[in-house]
């Protein structure tokens, strides 16, 4: 609340500074000969920026990192022995203290008796620390604002190059913004690497990447030995790959043929209907596909296979019949098929763009030779578009590998090393979700394993994306 008020005050101060700066510039130029270097508005903006910007940055930094600093401050005092806090629970304890102090819900842990008194004291301490920190931040922001104003205002004169200064600052802001994108990538890489390295201290990278046994069930109790969990990710990679292959088997032909039909055959009305419909299909959130897979397609496939199995039992394919009779809802085929549906519009719109980029002259050349449309497509357009189409399929694969919700809802949790599409498999993304949903503590390999998986996933999709984007770029250059 206080911070918000200070922000409003800063806005008001900046507005005032703008008006004052502009007036001063007008007065300075009114009597003088010759034109001023910059318009009065730029003088105003210059002063306003110096007034508001540094203070605002300070406030945002406080909002972003203040909680962390306060945490360090309050956890610097060790809790009284009566609280009975072990070293392992310190982080949770102070996390609770801070959330309660911020007026958020209490954690699952219930403190009673002496522990409750100690906890309340810690909360009170945290509250006073917080209030003090906020007051300090607010005061510092106001001081910075006034200081900025005092620094900038006297500089204004007729020949002051206010516009250049303001524009310089504008470009600086632009550059800072563009750095955010780079920082995001760096952030992803660093956080994944950091947590993964911690994971690889507990589990060797080789046994992670090449182990065939995945069973990360580690009890949260400290007396259990960590190595009881098995972290061999091969079954996850295999499951991910199996589902991706099934998805591509659906999406590649349907998506490609749709794109070809839309680009080469469809009339204006067909395009006007089909393209928005495909856009809707592309815009449907993946959790919706997951719902559809788990509650419509899964039961449908299962009853279909069960019925088929019932037909086969007793015949020459008795064993197959028995197997089909006990197929379950959660199978790779269901997740893969629904993911394939999800990818159809993705493949089709990318391929459509690619096919449309093939110059009309090539089509004309082929038609003029007496080729039919399909001959032109198969022998001229597709070969010409091949790199782009391959790139589109690579991007679709990358999407399939990184897709989470469909597999979480429809694939299953059992890590099995199988190539049978009717079997239940699990994927990298499903395991990340399973490992990280619920209470997450950053101190056991079970949680950290998710980051190991995340790093692998990121690396694989990154390689696919880079290759695909590179091909697309080359392809576009060719026809530009």
């Amino acid at each position: 609340m206080l911070i918000l008020m200070v922000l409003l005050a800063l806005a008001a101060l900046s507005a005032g500074a703008y008006a004052m700066g502009r007036r001063k510039a007008r007065q300075a130029t009114a009597g003088a000969a010759g034109r001023p270097h910059s318009l009065p508005g730029y003088h105003g903006a210059y002063v306003a920026l110096w007034t508001g910007l540094p203070a605002a940055i300070l406030l945002f930094a406080f909002v972003a990192f203040g909680g962390r600093i306060e945490y360090a401050l309050i956890s610097a005092d060790p809790p009284p022995a009566s609280a009975g806090i072990t070293a392992e629970r310190m982080a949770t304890y102070y996390g609770d203290v801070q959330s309660v102090a911020n007026g958020q819900s209490t954690s699952a842990v219930v403190y009673e008796g002496a522990a409750k008194t100690a906890f309340d004291a810690a909360v009170a301490h945290a509250r006073s620390t917080d209030t003090l920190a906020r007051l300090l931040a607010a005061a510092a922001a106001l001081v910075l604002a006034i200081g900025g104003f005092l620094l900038a205002f006297p500089k204004l004169s007729k020949d002051f190059r206010a516009r250049n200064r303001v524009e310089g600052l504008t470009s600086a802001v632009l550059i800072v913004c563009s750095v955010v994108a780079v920082m995001t990538t760096l952030g992803i890489v660093m956080s994944l690497l950091y947590e993964s390295l911690r994971f690889f201290q507990a589990v060797s990278p080789l046994s992670f990447l090449f182990g065939t046994d995945w069973d990360p069930q580690i009890a949260m109790r400290t007396d259990q030995v960590m190595t009881h969990g098995a972290f061999g990710a091969i079954p996850l990679f295999a499951g991910t790959f199996l589902i991706m292959i099934i998805a591509m088997a659906v999406a590649a032909p349907v998506g490609l043929y749709s794109a070809i039909y839309l680009a080469e055959y469809a009339g204006r009305t067909t395009r006007a209907v089909v393209k928005p419909a495909l856009e809707i299909l592309a815009g449907v959130p993946t959790v919706v596909y997951g719902f559809f897979a788990a509650l419509t397609v899964g039961p449908l496939f299962r009853s279909g296979f069960n019925a088929l199995g019932a037909q086969l039992v007793g015949g020459p394919l008795n064993d197959l019949g028995l197997y089909l009779g006990q197929v379950q809802n959660q199978m790779a085929l269901v997740a893969g098929a629904v993911m394939g549906i999800m990818l159809i519009p993705f493949v089709s719109s990318l391929s459509d763009d690619i096919i449309n980029a093939v110059p009309q002259a090539l089509r004309d050349g082929s038609y003029a030779m007496g080729a039919t449309k399909s001959e032109t497509i198969k022998r001229v357009i597709l070969p010409a578009a091949l790199p782009g189409v391959v790139a589109a399929l690579l991007l679709a694969m990358s999407r399939a590998i990184g897709e989470t919700m469909i597999v979480t809802l429809a694939a299953g949790l059992q890590a099995k090393l199988t190539a049978n599409p009717l079997d239940t498999v699990t994927t990298v993304t499903v395991q990340i979700v399973t490992l990280l949903t619920g209470d997450t503590e950053f101190d056991n390999p079970k949680t950290l394993a998710a980051f190991g998986l995340g790093l692998t996933l990121f690396a694989i999709t990154l390689v696919l994306n880079i290759i695909a984007l590179r091909i697309v770029q080359k392809y576009r250059e060719q026809y530009d």
Binding site: S171, S258, E264, V288, F291, T372, K373, L436, T461, N465
Partner: protein, 442 residues
Amino acid sequence: MTDAALIAGATQPSGPGHASGSTPKTLAAAKRLKARHAAEFRFRLYGRTAIIVALSFLVILLGRIVSQGWSTFVQNRISVAVYVDPAKVDARALNGVNWDYMISTAALAKLGLTDDDVGERSGKMSALLSPALGYDLLKKIKADPSLIGKTVTVDGPIGADAGLYYKGLIKRSTAEGDRRLDDAQLGWLDQLKAKGQVTSKFNTDFLTHADSTQPEQAGVAGAAIGSALTLIVVGLLAIPIGVLTAVYLEEFAPKNRWTDLLEVNINNLAAVPSIIYGLLGLALFINMMGVPRSTPLVGGLVLALMALPTVIIATRSALKAVPPSIREAALGVGASRTQTVFHHVLPMARPGIMTGAILALSHAMGETAPGLMVGMVFFSSDLPRGFLSAATVLPVQVFIWENASERAFLSMTAACIMVLLAFMILMNGTAIYLRSRYERRW
């Protein structure tokens, strides 16, 4: 054959039908042509089939969700007149009174029945009614204690299972042991309906309530507000940063290694799986920076990073579409580069930028995986109060309800999807409208 023969053949007077169809050569050619046209026909058929398959998937998907979800939007309500017996109500401890029992016996009385000794019958009746009736009665008595000793009419939703029966989703034909309501309960429901105690109306509770453990009491409002708050954070961060980055790259940045790298980086970020952003949010925002879990703030931060590349790419293509002649004209009258961009190029690109931004927001709205990572799987029966109060978002609500065991949540999951899709269609529709309304061809 000799040249002379060729000439002889060729110089014959030409005209339709001259080419005799009887020679093996022409037969082969005709056959070949027929085969080519058949191949053409097949190929076109494949394309048309693919389109039909894709469209029918869309129809099946949406149709299935509507058919599963519609029943949530109908609410069966019951009104029961309850005699508030002063003998059973302790005015000093109103919270301790078993209001549900009082209501269910009143409902039984309406059917001419009384409770049995072990309370089994009233328990069965109570299972048909929502606890909301009890809360309602309690609230009324608290507001006006003089009602004790009088007959009060309470009105509220019927229990979830009873609702399923009225909507035809629990069928009498199912074996008694396989359904959640026994024959006696179904009989009561039929009688209540026949007596006009039960009415059905549009389910406003679903649109105004937060989540609840009771399906008939649960609503999407909490998740919808959570989504709205999250999107505000996304919009405030991703749109300005994205637009300014695009302006820098397109209008100011020199062409060098650094900007090439930046470009490759942005294109790659757009294709990073969303769950990776969730991991980033967990490690960076929650673990390192101490942003509170499960809040719209942290959800918005993560989704803003995810939406950023989309906004940048859309803005860049909008800026590219502004012809260079505009820039040259502005620079030619002495405007600075910054003035040119902010006074001329950016306003002209605005429709394209807005379209891209809305689509990015709509995409962020439907993302589930990052939400799961930053703890948006959060149950709360209160509406979120602000950016720092724990909340969930619509797609995560879908995920939560999908995993709920109660049958009634199935329809509610589909209904929640309908609400989510309605919001997304609204946003995309706005984007498409903007695009068609303001799109200019240069």
